[in-house]
């Protein structure tokens, strides 16, 4: 079982890393989801002392599954959900400002912005005067 859990964590992490490198922002978010899933499964597996469910009444003499790890993962799941939700709304915001979700487009736009700013600095007043009326 040790190997099985390790493999599952590794595959989740590996696919997550692969998705993180995509140029599509939504897939990047999916990568974050997968990596945090991998982390949660790792914590559960690390504290894995199989036994009776930790809910009272516990039959005497039985081993109890470690409740601390479960509490930790519970917190982690909720927080990673919060992070994902924030990420998704960020993505939506990126769309509303750039009308694209492609990282290549975005960095191009970045460069364009920078060069425009440089141009504005170089030519200084001309630009602003033309923009004023």
């Amino acid at each position: 079982m040790t190997l099985a859990y390790s493999l599952a964590v590794a595959i989740l992490f590996g696919t997550g890393a692969y998705m993180l490198l995509k140029h599509d922002l939504i897939r990047v978010a999916a990568g974050v989801v997968l990596v945090s899933n991998a982390a949660n499964l790792f914590i559960i597996a690390a504290g894995l002392s199989r036994g009776v469910v930790p809910i009272l009444p516990i039959p005497g003499g039985e081993r109890v599954a470690d409740p601390v790890v479960q509490a930790l993962v519970l917190t982690a799941i909720v927080i990673s959900f919060g992070v994902t939700a924030l990420l998704l709304s960020l993505i939506y915001r990126v769309y509303t400002t750039h009308l694209s979700l492609d990282l290549d487009d975005l960095s191009e736009a970045d460069e364009r912005d920078e060069s425009e700013q440089e141009l504005a600095q170089l030519t200084g007043r001309n630009v602003s005067r033309r923009a004023a009326p």
Partner: protein, 783 residues
């Protein structure tokens, strides 16, 4: 614990309070900083003498981090006394000198006169760090004070804030800071082997029969390298001439009695270990000889007064290192004696240079001259100091060379020749310095007008010069201190007793001294003959010396850093990659270093009850792999929620129903949220992203990175999970206490009660995320 009213704790306390007191005094009135700080330094000096007078070295020991076996143990032993006397005594004199010099200097630089306060603060902080350093027995405490000296020296050298002094301060802290890491590594290696941070314990554990093996030799070599870099020895010497950009009192303190002395102090502190390896002694000899020759030759070429003294300091500390390398009672006692004699005299010469620069308004040797008649007191005082360094009889310096020659005679004819050559070089460059200022006529121009010198710019030099002569007439006390220091440095059971006295006979030491003076006089007279050759040597050093290598390395590092940054900020993807890749490299190094075969990877048993989680894990994995193939975004959303739900099942079947329940809830909300986001986005945007196919190269590269990441994760997770947990979980405690908390479900009681504060934190995080989301979406709508 001993009472507070004994020398060791009192000295530490006074020294550490001195910078704060000076700062506080300076806040009231800038002029108050120097008397307060100088007074504290004098008190510290007196306490050190008190400690030296005790028959047993006084000690104080406080537990610092007990579970790591770290203590603050400070002992005022012979070695500590020598260096503490230098640091506090010369510290007091330099403070007095600075009280007059720094306001003048600030006036020249058009700076606020209140800036004298931070100057004195850092100067006294340096003194405090020195005092702590020389008394520390715990190697980590020693390292801490070592770094404190580096920090204080950075602010002192960079005090003038112009490009040159900032550059110099940076070089000094890079060289001494990087080599300080070597010391830390060496100390950790020693701890790894002997299980103690306490230096006497380590020395006792090593024993007397040579260093056991290459690792320990390497550890001691690393520590010595750190010390030699601080002492500005070849090939780390170049920071010191640069550091002359600092105001003169800084140079006279750091580069005579404090910073460079700290380096040879470290050599002395670890000498019981170093002494046991012939290899290390030979290394010390080679480095010492090289520094002596290089420093001496370059000092002969310099025009700038302070540069002459800087290179002479490199050369003089080369002597000390060579003395340690020669070893034996004469060598070690000679080294300790040398540090004291040289510290006094070199400080006086630096202060002389400062006063001359202040009076004549120029800092070049060939632009001043013939000042003996106009500044008679300064001339006589600095003559005494110069005579101490060139080891004329009736000065303290005579005996430093006698001991040096005695150690050389003990070792062999080559070292006899080398020591006479070194002494002759010293005679030549110090003679050139003193004669050039006070006797010879200036080569260029003429120093017509002299600014009057205030008493405080002369009297400290007089005190130091008088001490040099007094030590020459009555060498007993200084010799006694040197002997005690040598006893500590050699870890000798019987006290070392090297004698210093005048003998009017033809013993080798006397003949060698005569030979050195004769050669020195010939060198001074024949300056025109050898000057071009020495200049060529100095040029060669500028072109191909270690300074060039240092500059080149720094440049290349800068380029590399720029390159990495360029790559990193290009877009989100390269940013993610530049976090993932180094993290992966670190993890891989950690895995290799921790020897993964040590806790063999275990496959683990599979029992009947494991079948269900196993099946669900297979489902999870399949879903995860499918997510990489999904072309359509809606398919991606569904596959992702598939991953989540099958994971929830894994949790459920791993006896974690609470987690499973939450996972199902969250996964449901998540799926809705994801699809809702997709619905908000127009189709053409999604199609655009999808249709722009990743070119083949990138896809292959990303997949490769993904596989590597997965493999590393597998290694880490598997080796972690394979270790049987040795500790008992607090879980049992929680289970037992759950009825008292009026709950049935242990996990929910933990969340709501036992670890309720954590849950509050979690809620806060969610709340902040919610605010962020609301802000983002609201503003988005308005557009």
């Amino acid at each position: 614990m001993a009472s507070l009213f004994s020398p060791a704790p009192l000295l530490l306390l006074v020294a550490l309070l001195a910078p704060l007191a000076a700062f506080a005094g300076g806040r009231i009135r800038p002029g108050l900083a120097a008397p307060v700080g100088g007074g504290m330094a004098l008190v510290a000096f007196a306490i050190t003498i008190w400690g030296a007078a005790l028959s047993d070295p006084d000690r104080v020991s406080v537990t610092w981090a007990g579970s790591w076996d770290l203590r603050f143990t400070f002992v005022l032993d012979g070695l500590a006394v020598v260096f503490a006397l230098l640091a506090t005594g010369i510290g007091a004199l330099v403070t007095a000198y600075s009280a007059r010099y720094i306001p003048l200097h600030l006036h020249h630089e058009h700076r606020d006169e209140r800036d004298v306060v931070p100057f004195l603060f850092y100067l006294l902080l340096f003194m405090a760090a020195m005092v702590g350093l020389v008394m520390a027995q715990d190697t980590i405490a020693l390292f801490l004070f070592w770094d404190l000296t580096a920090v204080a020296s950075f602010f002192l050298i960079g005090y003038d804030r112009n490009a040159r002094s900032v550059q110099a301060a940076l070089t000094a802290i890079v060289i001494t800071g990087v080599t300080a890491i070597l010391i830390l590594i060496g100390v950790i290696m020693l701890h790894d082997r002997y299980g103690s941070w306490d230096l006497p314990t380590i020395i006792a554990a090593v024993g007397e029969d040579g260093l056991p093996g290459g690792t320990i030799t390497l550890a001691v070599a690393l520590i010595l390298a750190g010390g030699l870099a601080k002492s500005a020895q070849v090939p780390f010497h170049f920071w010191l001439p640069q550091a002359m950009a600092a105001p003169t009192p800084v140079s006279s303190y750091l580069h005579s009695a404090a910073m460079v002395a700290a380096g040879v102090f470290l050599v002395g502190r670890f000498y019981p270990l170093a002494e046991q390896s012939d290899l290390l002694l030979w290394a010390l000899r080679v480095v010492g000889l090289a520094s002596m020759v290089v420093g001496g030759l370059v000092a002969l070429t310099r025009r700038h007064l302070k540069q002459i003294l800087a290179w002479s300091t490199i050369s003089q500390y080369g002597y000390v290192v060579l003395l340690f390398g020669l070893g034996g009672d004469y060598g070690v006692a000679g080294a300790c004696f040398y540090v004291m004699a040289h510290g006094l005299a070199k400080c006086a010469l630096f202060l002389t240079a400062g006063s001359v620069i202040e009076a004549a308004g120029t800092s070049y040797l060939d632009e001043v001259g013939g000042l003996a008649r106009r500044l008679p007191l300064l001339a006589v005082a600095s003559l005494a100091a110069a005579a101490t360094i060139v080891a004329l009889p009736l000065t303290l310096g005579f005996f430093k060379d006698e001991l040096f020659f005695a150690a050389a005679v003990e070792t062999g004819p080559f070292w006899v020749a080398a020591s006479v050559g070194g002494a002759a070089l010293t005679f030549a460059y110090i003679g050139r310095f003193w004669l050039g200022i006070f006797i010879r006529h200036p080569e260029r121009g003429r120093t017509a007008q002299l600014h009057p010198l205030s008493g405080l710019l002369v009297w400290p030099i007089v005190v130091l010069g008088a001490l040099g002569v007094a030590g020459g007439l009555f060498p007993g006390p200084i010799t006694g201190l040197a002997n005690e220091a040598a006893t500590v440095a050699r870890n000798a059971t019987a006290a070392i007793d090297v004698e210093t006295a005048y003998h009017l006979d033809t013993r080798p030491e006397n003949l060698m001294a005569l030979a050195a003076w004769a050669i020195g006089i010939v060198l001074i007279v024949s300056e025109r003959l050898w000057q071009p050759a020495v200049r060529a040597f100095s040029r060669l050093g500028d072109i191909a010396g270690p300074e060039r290598i240092y500059d080149g390395t720094l440049d290349r590092l800068n380029h590399w850093s720029d390159f990495v940054r360029q790559f990193e900020v290009r877009d989100l993807r390269s940013r993610v990659a530049s976090i993932l890749a180094p993290a992966g490299v670190l993890v891989a190094i950690g895995l290799i270093a921790s020897d993964p075969t040590n806790n063999a990877f275990r496959v683990g048993s599979v029992s009947g009850g494991d079948l269900l989680p196993l099946l669900m894990m297979i489902a999870t994995v399949i879903a995860a792999l499918t997510s990489t193939l999904a072309r359509d975004h809606f398919a991606l959303a569904l596959v992702l929620s598939g991953v989540g739900f099958s994971l929830a099942c894994v949790y459920a079947f791993s006896d974690a129903p609470n987690v499973a329940l939450v996972a199902v809830l969250i996964e449901t909300v998540f799926t809705v949220l994801f699809i809702a986001t997709l619905v908000l986005l127009p189709r053409w945007v999604l199609r655009d992203v999808n249709q722009e196919p990743d070119d083949h190269d990138h896809n292959g590269r990303d997949a490769f990175i993904g596989v590597i990441a997965g493999l590393l994760a597998l290694l880490v997770v598997w080796s972690t999970l394979s270790q049987s947990s040795v500790f008992t979980s607090v879980g049992d405690e929680f289970v037992a206490q759950t009825p008292d908390a009026h709950g049935g479900n242990v996990v929910s009681v933990i969340l709501a009660d036992f670890r309720g504060l954590d849950t509050l934190g979690e809620i806060t995080v969610i709340g902040i995320a919610l605010l962020g989301i609301a802000g983002l979406l609201y503003r988005g709508r308005l557009r």
